[in-house]
Subunit: 300 residues, 2 copies
């Protein structure tokens, strides 16, 4: 079983209170793919410019990620983002954003991807997300991410998109912005009433909340003392979650909860170094060990 | 087995985005006592002025809280606090504070309380907290709270006090202030290395973290959609925790974790109305029902 992800592939420049990295491998679909690849084969659709080094593609394909859907646009530049983290390592400021090739990204799902039943629409315009949905009529689980930009600029399109997906993943500030409700429990259910069968609100260092018609729960973040770079935490969380669901070929309530736990654990590793560096250094056995620890932590 | 608490008893005035209450029953020792009273008999030491209505004392004693240690100072006024909550209901601003009788509070532990083996020093000056410790040599578990004021103004005294207690409860901002570390996992252990065998960091709507030499864990807050007034959440959390430990006559790691869960559940009820109103409307059976739900929420 394969998992399809459509989203950004980028060069990130990251400033933290103690270190800086320039032009490292980043992007929502990149973090997502790598995180999901511990669990299942992943098929990536994205776009880069001719400044994209082939080593980056090789790094992903060596991990079993199918990059045949990664378009390379001649004469164009890859999406670049620069951000700076506050001392708390939870809040950040975007210093520069150059959409470049991502601005006109019009994803085409290759024929060879047409059998993907699990689909994740990483952050992107809801118009583009709906174009992808049009191309995956066979999908049995469609989950999307969104962000403040689309809530503010394309609310109608976002609302239309929400009616076509099974699950939405967004962060706490975005859930409050979308619903106008400052209480996250109420906000989560209000988002759910806009269409998706389930909603996951990411709270950064404070974990994630899950909402379905029958369930409301919170899972704390795994408490790591080694937070080096939180970039990609939300995407690696979603990647771990969707990867596990794809591996299990199931999204029943019990499997979804397990999936959130795996997502939590993958994200906790991801923040321990810049770019994909920490995730590259671990394997499924590390995830299982930390998951066991996490489960023990929550047992009383 | 009895639990001794020494702390403030106050009139609170609370402004939330949707409602306001003036001069309602409040204070750290008040919330703590009521929360603990579901589990054990409680003995309260505090001070009020002659403006204190006897109904408030009756409300506590009707719940089985021994108020013989509540000094009433003639011609003086009770501690008053006024605060305003942000729309997120997690951050607040203190608008007015009148220490009144609490400014010269010199707690005397009545002879009848001398057999208390479980002691909680609610928020107060570390100098006063140490005066209490001098009076309870028999105590087998001594836990304290503190706040930014004492970290800034009486750091040396606070550090001396920390060497004399078994556990410290403080909030996330205070842990960062005390240690200068923005990572809560590291900050928690740094506080522990200052003296207490265990440390609990309260994170408001995001739950609590526990630190001992052998354990680090996080427990999320119970997700209630009905947050009416967060005042006293931290004190009722500590009350539930200490009440359960006293009931069990034990503070082994497993019992401590259960105690944090009970504290979480009591606090989640407390925030559902102003003052003690929600806690007054519930009983132990409600706590058990919500605890069961909370445990289920964290099982995967």
């Amino acid at each position: 079983m394969s998992l399809l992800v459509v989203g950004s592939v980028a060069f990130d420049s990251v400033e933290t209170p103690t270190a800086t990295r320039d032009n490292v491998l980043g992007g929502s679909a990149t973090f997502f793919s790598y995180a999901a690849s511990y669990f299942t084969s992943v098929r990536l659709v994205g776009v880069v410019g001719e400044d994209w080094p082939s080593e980056h593609t090789k790094l992903l394909s060596d991990q079993g990620i199918d990059t045949s859907g990664l378009q390379v646009v001649p004469g164009a530049k890859t999406f670049r983002w620069r951000g700076k983290y506050e001392p708390n390592m939870n809040d950040r400021e975007t210093l520069e954003i150059h959409l470049n090739v991502f601005e006109t990204f019009d994803p085409v799902i290759p024929d060879s991807y047409q059998d993907c039943q699990y689909v994740f629409l990483a952050n992107g315009s809801p118009v583009i997300q709906m174009k992808v949905l049009d191309q995956v009529p066979q999908a049995k689980l469609k989950v999307a991410d969104t962000m403040d930009l689309w809530i503010n600029m394309q609310r109608d399109e976002l609302c239309a998109m929400l009616k076509r997906i099974d699950g939405l993943v967004l962060n706490d500030a975005e859930a409050k912005l979308l619903t106008g409700d400052e209480n996250l429990v109420r906000a989560g259910h209000k988002v759910r009433e806009m269409g998706p069968k389930f909603v996951v609100i990411k709270k950064g260092e404070h974990g994630a909340m899950f909402f379905s018609q029958d369930e409301t729960y919170v899972m704390p973040a795994y408490p790591t003392p080694d937070v080096v770079d939180p970039t990609g935490a939300g995407d690696s969380f979603a990647g771990g979650m969707m990867g596990y669901l794809t591996e299990q070929r199931d999204h029943s309530p019990a499997t979804l909860k397990q999936a959130l736990a795996y997502g939590t654990v993958v994200a906790s590793y991801n923040v321990e170094d810049f770019s994909l560096d920490r995730m590259r250094a671990i394997g499924r056995d590390d995830l299982e060990a930390r998951l066991k620890d996490y489960r023990q932590m929550l047992s009383f």
